[in-house]
């Protein structure tokens, strides 16, 4: 038995005992030491870098550790096993997700305000306010990456508090698939439940009650929107069936749950209402979001796109609603992008590149020096690199030039900001792998749109309204998104950004039994298209993985 000490850069020291061969990342998780592992310990993401201060571990060098860093005792925790006593230094960057929880404010108040749009509009459609409970209610959007909540006075509908935090489950994997796999491991159900409930939602509830000057037990009603996987993990249901064919979840709707059943520290008999899921990959976040879009009450053919950690799309109007999920991945939230980040302070959200000099100009959220690129900045970057002829339609750099640098493996990157121009002293760049990931993400979105349109035999031009929701940020430049073939080429005036539609929908459900019933009706009436088994989808996807598209006439 050996002693392993974790020294956290911004946290306490933890000591654990372990046998030879124990995995360092798992030990850290056991010891409560926060280390991100979006790839769930496959050695592919490179986020779990730690430094061996003394002692030794067995480890394997991966592409994420340079020779210099290896010499300097940097290791990937997930690729390291115990071989003796050791002292491990855990840098603050290893636990990015914690930042959100500590401050309970991943989103700025202004952003929250924008995201949490006035629910009044929903009630101008004939739905009436009013629920059986009185006092305070809380609406929670459990996102794969971010959990957002609003505290509302049930009688007046007044917003009493807002908070958001990174989903604590992120250290068990950045996407739903890795989390479902983690859930199936020993104690997985409890670990994942604890990460989202004890580490994320309960702190948020406490923060909200402080904001409102009330006790959490004053909360008498709760609504939860979240994708199918998040709902399963939160209630502790087995999520395996979401991942495995035929992709049928354990439940679509949950009824009759109370706070006591679910271990939430609000009034024990407070009903907890879950927005209904439609399929394995179209969940309650979408059924609640559709309520917010008002497309169910409109004659106009509306396309609703939620660009979250996954992309979900709904197409239809008051007569029908067709929905699907596409595996766009987390690129639009900055995931799987070397310098990617969410749309928060320090993120480059707008970029233009000079056609002649190829020098970039950018806008940073918060106005300071850049830290990374968010989804909207990424769209701009790829669009500008493409328009300036710096990258090919396949996303490869065409020429070597001053801002295009190649590493020893021949992978090229474009430097957006040199180390002396950034907040953290490291260059902000975009490399070919990032661009490739992004092109796949945008291809997934566009091919899903095409497949849905084909399914109902309508031309692109028949779409009268497009509503974009999700963490991509309001800075999204629709013209750029169209020019790279991510969104269909229709008039810009038909496009709009609606922020966090899922939370807005959950808020409406919170203050109105009528709205709650409407969301259940929407959920049951949506037709779910499973793209992974849909004939012709792969063809559409490959055709869309090109700038702007293999069929250039679609964007001419």
């Amino acid at each position: 038995m050996y002693t392993i000490i974790f020294k956290q850069e911004d946290g306490p020291e933890s000591k654990v005992f372990a046998d030879t061969g124990a995995n360092l990342l798992e030990l850290a998780q056991q010891a409560g030491v926060a280390i991100d592992a979006p790839c769930s310990g496959n050695g592919t993401c490179g986020k779990c870098r730690v430094r061996i201060m003394s002692g030794s571990v067995e480890s394997k060098q991966t592409m994420h550790i340079t020779d210099d860093e290896w010499e300097d005792n940097w290791r990937l925790a997930c690729q390291s096993t115990v071989s003796g006593d050791a002292s491990i230094w855990v840098p603050a960057t290893a636990a990015d997700f914690k930042k959100g929880i500590r401050t309970a404010g991943l989103l700025s108040p202004a952003e929250m305000e924008r995201y949490l749009r006035d629910t009044g509009r929903i009630f101008s459609s004939g739905l009436t306010r009013g629920v059986d409970q009185t006092g305070l209610g809380v609406a929670i959007d459990i996102g794969t990456t971010t959990v957002t909540a609003a505290l509302i006075d049930l009688a007046s509908g007044e917003v009493k508090g807002k908070a958001s935090a990174g989903n604590g489950q992120i250290r068990y994997g950045g996407d739903v698939i890795n989390r479902i796999i983690q859930q199936s491991r020993p104690h997985g159900v409890e670990k994942l439940r604890h990460a989202v409930r004890e580490e994320t939602i309960i702190p948020i509830l406490e923060e909200l009650s402080v904001q409102a000057g009330a006790a959490t037990t004053d909360i008498t009603r709760c609504t939860i929107a979240g994708n199918t996987t998040m709902q399963h993990l939160f209630v502790g249901a087995d999520a395996q069936s979401i991942r495995l064919e035929p992709f049928v979840p354990e439940f679509l709707e949950l009824h009759g749950k109370t706070a006591a059943d679910l271990g939430l520290p609000i009034a024990p008999d407070a009903p907890v209402v879950f927005a209904p899921n439609v399929g394995s990959y179209v969940g309650g976040d979408i059924s609640a979001g559709v309520l917010d879009t008002m497309m169910w009450d409109s004659d106009e053919l509306t396309l609703f796109i939620d660009l979250g950690t996954n992309g979900e799309l709904v197409l239809g109007n008051r007569d029908y609603l067709l929905c699907c999920a596409c595996s766009a991945g987390p690129a639009f939230e900055g995931g799987e992008i070397s310098c990617g980040m969410r749309a928060t302070d320090g993120a480059i959200e707008e970029i233009s590149i000079d056609d002649a000099t190829h020098e970039p100009r950018y806008e940073v959220i918060g106005g300071g020096k850049p830290l990374g690129i968010c989804g909207s900045g990424l769209i701009d970057t790829v669009a500008e690199l493409f328009h300036c002829g710096i990258i090919s339609p396949k996303g490869r750099f065409i020429h070597d030039e001053p801002r295009v640098i190649r590493d020893e493996y021949g992978t090229a990157e474009y430097v957006l900001a040199y180390p002396d121009q950034t907040e953290h002293g490291k260059a902000v760049t975009i490399n070919e792998t990032d661009i490739n990931n992004f092109i796949r993400a945008k291809g997934a979105i566009f091919s899903a749109v095409r497949t849905m349109l084909k399914g109902i035999d309508l031309p692109t031009s028949s779409i009268e309204r497009v509503m974009i929701a999700g963490g991509i940020g309001s800075g999204i430049n629709m013209a750029n998104a169209i020019s790279i073939g991510m969104l269909p080429k229709i008039g810009l005036e038909r496009y709009g950004y609606i922020g966090n539609s899922s939370l807005t929908g959950a808020c409406a459900m919170l203050v109105s039994k009528d709205a709650e019933n409407k969301v259940f009706e929407i959920g049951r009436n949506m037709t779910y298209l499973e793209l992974s088994t849909y004939p012709g989808y792969m063809d559409e996807f490959v055709a869309a993985c090109f700038l702007p598209h293999t069929d250039a006439s679609l964007f001419a």
Binding site: S392, P393, K394, D539, V542, A543, C545, F546, T550
Partner: protein, 313 residues
């Protein structure tokens, strides 16, 4: 009511790409009808049949093949014998030995040998690489330079090396190039777009859209070629109008049906017959699906397919 024939000739056509020079030159493509549909409109350039010779030698377990190449000890000897086969429209030199993971023959040696063959035979030449991207890039560039004026086809560029291959073969030395993709109409088109954006004349490009031995997922090949031709002719898609050249030999002779000896599985019969059947079946299927040329290894296969094409024209 009397039967009324309505020919389905298209306004669009496949590009006509000529390889070789003088009387022996062969033109691929040019048709404006679906594959082999001579009843819709005449097909001026009949599908071509090429014979492949590899620099790694020939198989010694195939008596008829041995007999054909009897006395030929070098690649040049074999190339000359193959070129004499009147049913072969062109000769394909396969530079397998250049593979860095194999014999790793030097580019200089390969180029010198190809040059000697080009001087000795008058059939149009196709040069196939060793499938190693870096080595092929260098090989194609040097071969294109050495065979200037011979109008040869370099087979083929891929997404990883199309820039260098396109610039150093077609643009610098006016040779013809192949664009290779793996059984996917979109990937095929994307590569053609990239190559033409480079400034390469689409009329100098042929496609190898991938193949498989018959029975080894050949539905994908049929579907890909079929849709390529439909897009090219029906939708007049200029980025898919390149003629298709399919190297059948490398697929047909590497499956177990063409490898396992008749001694091991007597009920399967003679391995050479089996291999020829595999090659002929695959080639016929490729031609029916849309290939404008096939490259075969066995002289018997070449004769059979050549007769098959002649009968259909």
């Amino acid at each position: 009511m009397a039967y009324k024939k309505s020919p389905q000739a298209f306004k669009a056509s496949i590009n006509a790409v000529t390889i070789g020079t003088g009387d022996s030159a062969v033109t691929l493509g040019g048709e404006n009808v679906m594959p082999l549909y001579t009843f819709d409109a005449p097909i001026e350039h009949r599908p071509a049949v090429g014979i492949a010779v590899s620099d790694t030698g020939i198989r010694t377990d195939l008596p008829k093949l041995d007999e054909f190449y009897e006395g030929a000890t070098t690649l040049l000897d074999r190339a000359q014998k193959a070129a004499q086969l009147k049913e072969a429209d062109f000769l394909s030199i396969v530079l397998d030995a250049a593979d860095p993971n194999g014999d790793n023959r030097s580019v200089e040696d390969c180029v010198a040998e190809v040059k000697a063959i080009a001087d000795a035979v008058d059939k149009p030449l196709v040069i196939e690489g060793c499938k190693n991207v870096e080595k092929d890039t260098e090989l194609f560039s040097k071969v294109a330079e050495a065979l200037q004026g011979k109008n040869v086809l370099l087979l083929s560029a891929r997404e990883e090396n199309y820039k260098t291959v396109g610039a150093s073969t077609v643009m610098a030395y006016q040779q013809k190039m192949g664009a290779e993709s793996a059984d996917d109409i979109n990937l095929a088109k994307q590569l053609n777009v990239l190559i033409t954006q480079l400034g390469v004349d689409p009329g100098s490009v042929v496609m190898n859209v991938g193949t498989a031995a018959a029975g080894y997922g050949f539905e994908y090949v049929v579907s890909t070629m079929d849709r390529v031709k439909s897009a090219a002719l029906e939708q007049n898609d200029g980025m898919l109008q390149m003629p298709i050249v399919t190297p059948v030999a490398s697929e047909a002779w590497t499956v177990k049906e063409s490898l396992v000896s008749g001694d091991d599985i007597p009920e399967w019969g003679d391995v050479e017959e089996r291999g020829i059947q595999m090659e002929v079946t695959t080639a016929a299927a490729c031609l029916a699906s849309g290939s404008n040329a096939v490259i075969l290894m066995h002289p018997e296969s070449v004769k059979t397919i050549s007769a098959f094409v002649a009968d259909l024209m």
